[in-house]
Amino acid sequence: MTAMNRWLPVRLSPLARRRERWFYLLITPWLIGLVLFQLGPVLGALGLALFEWPLGSPWSAANFAGGKRLRLLFDDPLLGQTLWNTAYYAVGTIPVGVALALGLALLLNHQRRGVALLRTIFFLPIVTSGVALTLLWGWIFNARYGLLNQGLALVGLHGPAWLQDEGWAMPALILMNLWLVGVNMVIYLAALQDLPGELIDAATMDGASGGQRFRWVLWPLLSPVTFYLLVVNGIGTLQVFTPTYILTRGGPNNATLTLPLYLYFQAFLWGDLGYAALLGWLIFVLTLLLTWGQFHLARRWVFYRGGMV
């Protein structure tokens, strides 16, 4: 295979040139969409962050406000708390979520009876309406009458006030997030289907135990998908705010105020679209750094059978 992955000019063979032409052809749907539907709005978002003008008046009346807004950002008393909450949430949900998804996928990767039903059950929370989620989890976590505390009382423990307790609200949200593991599980299930059975069989015949088979055969083969899930969940955590919005509204006392939720409040509740746009760009920068870091680390542990990175 020729070395294709440099962006420096390289003398390509006719075959490679031909294949490269096909590459550019096949990605045109994306490129066109980028120019049509993303370029303009992104510039608009930049404009929102850097300029200010009253809503509804012509854009020519704008004046530069970038410096002022950046200063507001650095002076923002809530920003530090928000960043900490977001990091807390990310670290609490991503590794465990992905691991749990892998476990469930392995557990449900067979053809025995009832497995279709079981897989559907694990996937159910993803599709349930947001309102049902709020009420259900509000009730489960209720300090006095909730299912969780009543269960704990049965074993003699006194449960905390969960969503009303500053220290326990975030753990409660993290616990709730585990329950949305179906998405990651399904992706793992799909990936497990196209793994080469002969490699696993060869390992078994060589006398490898289940654990060894997992560590040395399954895990590397699944690493592209694991990588995908880590990256995508990382991006998602910095953008998703629906559970926090519905269950705690960022409370109590800003203990569950994550960055995307803060952005949403600024944009739509507190009416400061410009500052909200700046927060959006902050999220962009943070996500970029996180993802770049993950790609950099990927060389060490992600194994592509085509040899590409």
Binding site: L55, G56, W139, L163, P252, F265, W270
Partner: protein, 444 residues
């Protein structure tokens, strides 16, 4: 592979077929004389069921217009209107909720209605003063209210019977309420709050539905001569006047010492059920807005009635009301027609038929308000609700900073109510936080 794609293709064919069979909405008729007006409302399906037919009848009676009804879910009005405003794509006439409307009024999104009111000799005296105040800014009127929902005292007759107490009357004061609330607060052994063996940890029924738990409840301190607002539109707030502090301490002691009411009434953390404790059958009395009538009647499980809001030490009553009303977009291409539509929507007959008689809300005009009274419907004393319209006032502050101020102060109220912070100290913190959040609105 083939069955999957075949299925997908079949779904698509069905969808295409279905879509092709959809009657295409006729474009505005070619006659140039017909003006197309966009009217946006945010209504529940029940309200739409009353509103839509009446609007169609109105539209039919005015061949010079063609009204396009746009509907927004009630909880998403801010997102939708902000988006449309940014794109200069607001509908011609918008029915807006009271506490949200001022943020757009102050961005000059709507027309000043004074010229139209004068020209058409609209009788402003026919509108109740409270709802009208919602649409005022800088001495002008930027919209007109069509309905309002005042808060009145709801009480549970079964609980009163069980405690052997006389029902509340229209003449009740806060002290009358407190005395009754103590006897109506019961723990799981049925002991009331005056009983020495009463255990507050096991309360199953509270006397009153909620204490002073957030900063929009200025009506709860007015009866003592206090007030949270230090200027006309409440962009400057004062929580530390002696009368205000005394009133807040009265309420906090009702929570802290007497345990007769809740510090977290609506989120369900104390009651186990989110929503108002009176409605969940866990409080014997409380202030509730008119929406509670609809909800209680549909539940049918609580035998209740209402009386006018409690009298303060000065013999006056103070109660909030939430309003709805119509505004005309400043960018509307046909303001004259938009005004004509608005006027038609505010006719007493229209208000009676669409809002009053079905019992959705109280019309904001005196000549139509009484239509909301329906003897066949609970509660019995509906007259109290209409009476409350006379002195009810809108929630203040109502600028965009108010929502941030609410978020920054609600925890402080909880801490004061739970005794975690002394009342004067908490009020000082609340004042600082609220005024900081409202600073931008104050300086315009």
């Amino acid at each position: 592979m083939r069955p999957f794609y075949r299925t997908l293709l079949i779904c698509l064919c069905i969808a295409s077929f279905v879509g092709a069979c959809t009657p295409i909405q006729p474009a505005t008729s070619p006659g140039a004389a017909v003006i197309e007006l966009r009217l946006a409302v945010a209504l529940t399906p029940q309200e739409l069921a009353s509103f839509q037919p009446a609007l169609e009848a109105l539209d039919a009676a005015h061949p010079e217009w063609s009204v396009v009804l746009e509907v927004i879910p009630q909880q998403n009005v801010i997102e939708k209107l902000n988006t449309q405003l940014a794109a200069n794509d607001l509908p011609d006439v918008i029915r807006v909720q009271g506490i949200q409307v001022q943020q757009w009024i102050r961005q000059n999104a709507f027309l000043d209605l004074a010229p139209y009111i004068q020209q058409n000799q609209v009788d402003l005296a026919d509108f109740f003063p409270g709802p009208l105040d919602q649409f005022r800014w800088q001495e002008q009127l930027w919209g007109l209210p069509d309905t309002a929902a005042p808060e009145v005292v709801f009480y549970n007759k079964t609980m009163f019977n069980a405690a052997g107490l006389a029902y509340p009357t229209d003449e009740w004061t806060y002290d009358d309420m407190r005395q009754a609330a103590l006897q109506l607060t019961l723990d799981d052994q049925g002991r009331n709050a005056t009983d020495p063996a009463f255990t507050p940890e096991t309360i199953v029924q509270w006397g009153w539905n909620g204490g002073l738990t957030y900063f929009w409840q200025r009506h709860l301190v007015r009866g003592w001569g206090g007030d949270f607002c230090a200027n006309a539109d409440c962009t400057l707030m004062n929580f530390t006047k002696p009368e205000t502090v005394a009133a807040v301490e009265w309420w906090v002691s009702l929570v802290q010492d007497d345990h007769a009411t809740l510090y977290a009434p609506y989120d369900g953390s104390q009651t186990g059920v989110p929503g108002d404790p009176f409605i969940s059958g866990q409080a014997a009395m409380g202030y509730n807005g008119f929406f509670a009538v609809g909800q209680l009647n549909s539940m049918g499980s609580i035998d209740y009635d209402v009386v006018q809001p409690l009298q303060g030490a000065d013999g006056q009553r103070y109660t909030p009301l939430s309003t709805n009303g119509y505004v005309i977009a400043a960018t509307s291409a046909q303001p004259e027609a938009a005004w004509a539509l608005t006027q038609a929507l505010l006719e007493p007959a229209f208000l009676e038929a669409v809002w009053g008689k079905p019992g959705h809300a109280v019309p904001a005009r005196r000549t139509a308000a009484a239509s909301v009274i329906a003897p066949a419907r609970a509660p019995a004393n509906q007259q109290a609700i209409v009476a409350a319209m006379e002195y009810g006032e809108v929630f203040k502050p109502y600028t965009v900073g108010a929502f941030a101020a609410y978020g920054q102060t609600v925890e402080l109220f909880t801490q004061a109510n739970k005794g975690e912070m002394a009342v004067p100290e908490a009020l000082q913190a609340i004042e600082t936080a609220a005024n900081a959040a409202l600073a931008d609105d104050r300086n315009e």
